[in-house]
């Protein structure tokens, strides 16, 4: 009945709504360092079989194909795109870019991270907090793990591509190693959960993190003085936006057609 068409149209509108939300969020984060673009994935919903294939009629012929009506569409999930964002030169000594795979580890509240107390990010805009520890340069000041304390007399901090943190002090001509930065890799980064603030936390789907020095076992290398720009492609997003908007209109039309049919039914008996 027309009710099915109405449902299909409604499922289309609701799925496209989700897609619109995702695109709007991508566009809003066009200039967010380390942001990874998302997309809504659609799947067709179930089918009602009105007649099964292979059923015999009175004279013994088998119906070669079935008769079924689909019931619309659903969002099967959202997926982040973990391709590399373009490097953005800032010259800041605590701005770090991961060239390749991997995430920085920072401390978060236990309730945000499912009890591990660790979140992962690719937005490497760091600074020093009041205790000289390297921390994210935002209003929360989440500390980088493993914790590294830069002595106050450090004139210049150098971070090598394999994560060694070297400082130069006035009373020392040779660079002094004060710690090593580690990166965490995941088997399935798309399974990570986004918690805002450019942070991700591990889930069962992402697998356990494999932590180690940058540049080893497939982990990316570090670039000091650069930030990773958002990997949102505005052209693509706008095309997706147009596609979504038009699909939305088409579905509203099929709702209208189904509505007219239902009205005809209701008016058949004067």
């Amino acid at each position: 009945m027309a009710i099915n068409a109405l449902q299909s149209g409604a499922s289309g509108l609701s799925a496209l709504n989700t897609s619109l939300d995702v695109i709007a969020n991508n566009l809003a984060n066009l200039n967010t360092p380390g942001f990874k673009a998302g997309r809504a994935n659609f799947q067709d919903l179930l089918y009602v079989e009105k007649a099964q294939p292979g059923v015999e009629n009175a004279i013994g012929d088998q119906r070669p194909t079935g008769l079924y009506v689909g019931l619309g569409v659903k969002v099967s999930g959202t997926q982040s795109n973990f391709t590399q964002g373009a490097p953005m030169a800032t010259g800041e000594q605590f701005d770090l870019l991961i060239d390749g795979q991997g995430f920085f580890r920072v401390t978060v509240e236990n309730e945000l991270s499912g009890g591990t107390g660790i979140a992962y990010t690719r937005a490497g805009a760091f600074t020093l907090n009041s205790e000289g520890q390297i921390a994210l340069a935002n209003d929360r000041g989440r500390r980088l793990l493993p914790e590294v304390t830069i002595p106050p007399n450090a004139e210049r901090v150098e971070i090598s591509s394999d994560g060694r943190i070297l400082i130069k002090t006035p009373d020392n001509t040779e660079p002094l190693e004060v710690g090593t930065l580690e990166l965490a890799g995941f088997v399935n980064p798309a399974g990570l959960k986004q918690i805002g603030e450019n942070l991700f936390v591990e889930t069962r789907a992402s697998g356990a993190p494999q932590t180690g020095q940058p540049g080893t076992e497939g982990r990316g290398r570090l670039m000091q003085g650069f930030l990773e720009s958002s990997n949102v492609d505005p052209t693509r997003e706008l095309i997706e936006l147009i596609r979504t908007q038009r699909a939305y209109e088409f579905n509203s039309q099929s709702i209208r057609a189904a509505d007219e049919a239902l009205r005809t039914v209701s008016q058949i008996r004067r």
Binding site: M1, A2, N4, A5, S8, G9, S11, G12, A15, F42, Q43, D44, L45, L46, Y47, K50, A51, P53, A58, I59, R63, P64, T65, G66, L67, Y68, V69, G70, L71, G72, V73, S76, G77, Q79, Q101, V187, N188, A190, G191, A205, S206, G207, E217, G218, R236, R243, T244, R246, A247, F250, N251, Q253, S254, A257, A258, A261, T264, V265, I268, R269
Partner: protein, 258 residues
């Protein structure tokens, strides 16, 4: 009873069914790997002929009219959808004929499903799975594919996965002779019959890494079909109302005893 009433009703029902199918096609305008359904109607024989009850008496005049319209089996339009570049390493599309092979349950051969939706990802165990439902993608030996960590992932046109120069596995891209043997199951999956599964063969289509295949629905055609089915429904309903009025006349005007 009024025979035309039932013929009009069958017309209204098939029109409604067409509207449902095309509304579903429109709802899946943005579903990757979706293949639209095409509807057909066929002329229905009278019940006596249809059920083979030729020994029963029939009305020769009415039987020539037939029994109205019936929904014919749907056909799926397997035409190529347009390929869209996403640049993501685990987005695959098939250009030409063929399907990716996945299965919904363990090693059970009956659970094999085919799909054109090549948005894949890796699960927590490193296996190549569908991004929507997490079903494992099978290689040419019907085994799951484990993709190790590391850079340099490359998937060739024949489905072979390379990590740098190292061969990992070859994604199975299969085809069946008779596509009518595939039933849509939702979740972008096609369920093949056992016979079709046994007779499947390597497909001629090639795998394109970093692309997805857009829905095969033609929005204009689907829109036209939904609207015209609505009008056809309306016409049939008006005919029903007309015949209702006719009967009312027969009962209340002609049948009035002075």
């Amino acid at each position: 009873m009024n025979y035309g009433l039932y013929i009009s009703a069958s017309g209204a029902l098939t029109a409604m069914y067409r509207q449902d199918v095309h509304a579903n096609n429109l709802a899946n305008l943005d579903t990757v790997g979706f293949k639209p359904d095409f509807t057909a109607t066929l002329q229905r024989l009278s019940a006596r002929q249809e059920d083979g009850l030729t020994h029963l008496p029939g009305d020769a005049m009415l039987e020539r009219l037939g029994g109205g319209a019936l929904m014919a089996p749907n056909r799926v339009g397997f035409g190529q959808g347009s390929l869209d570049n996403t640049g993501q390493p685990f987005d695959l599309a098939i250009q030409g004929d063929g399907f990716f092979v996945t299965r919904t349950d363990g090693t059970n051969i009956d659970s094999i499903r085919l799909t054109r939706d090549g948005r894949f990802t890796r699960d927590a165990r490193g296996r190549l799975v569908t991004a929507g439902s997490g079903l494992p993608v099978l290689d040419t030996t019907n085994d799951t594919i484990r993709i190790p960590d590391g850079p340099g992932l490359r998937i060739e046109g024949d489905g072979s996965i390379f990590m740098g120069e190292r061969f990992i596995a070859r994604i199975q891209v299969t085809d069946v002779l008779d596509r009518a043997q595939l039933t849509k199951e939702g979740h972008s999956l096609f369920r093949p019959t056992a016979a079709a599964l046994d007779a499947r063969f390597g497909a001629s289509g090639s795998v394109r890494q970093g692309f997805i295949e857009r829905s095969g629905t033609d929005p204009f055609r689907a829109m036209m079909a939904t609207t015209s089915a609505g009008r056809e429904f309306e016409t049939n309903m008006q005919l029903i109302a007309q015949q209702d009025r006719l009967m009312e006349r027969a009962i209340n005007t002609l049948g009035r005893t002075a």
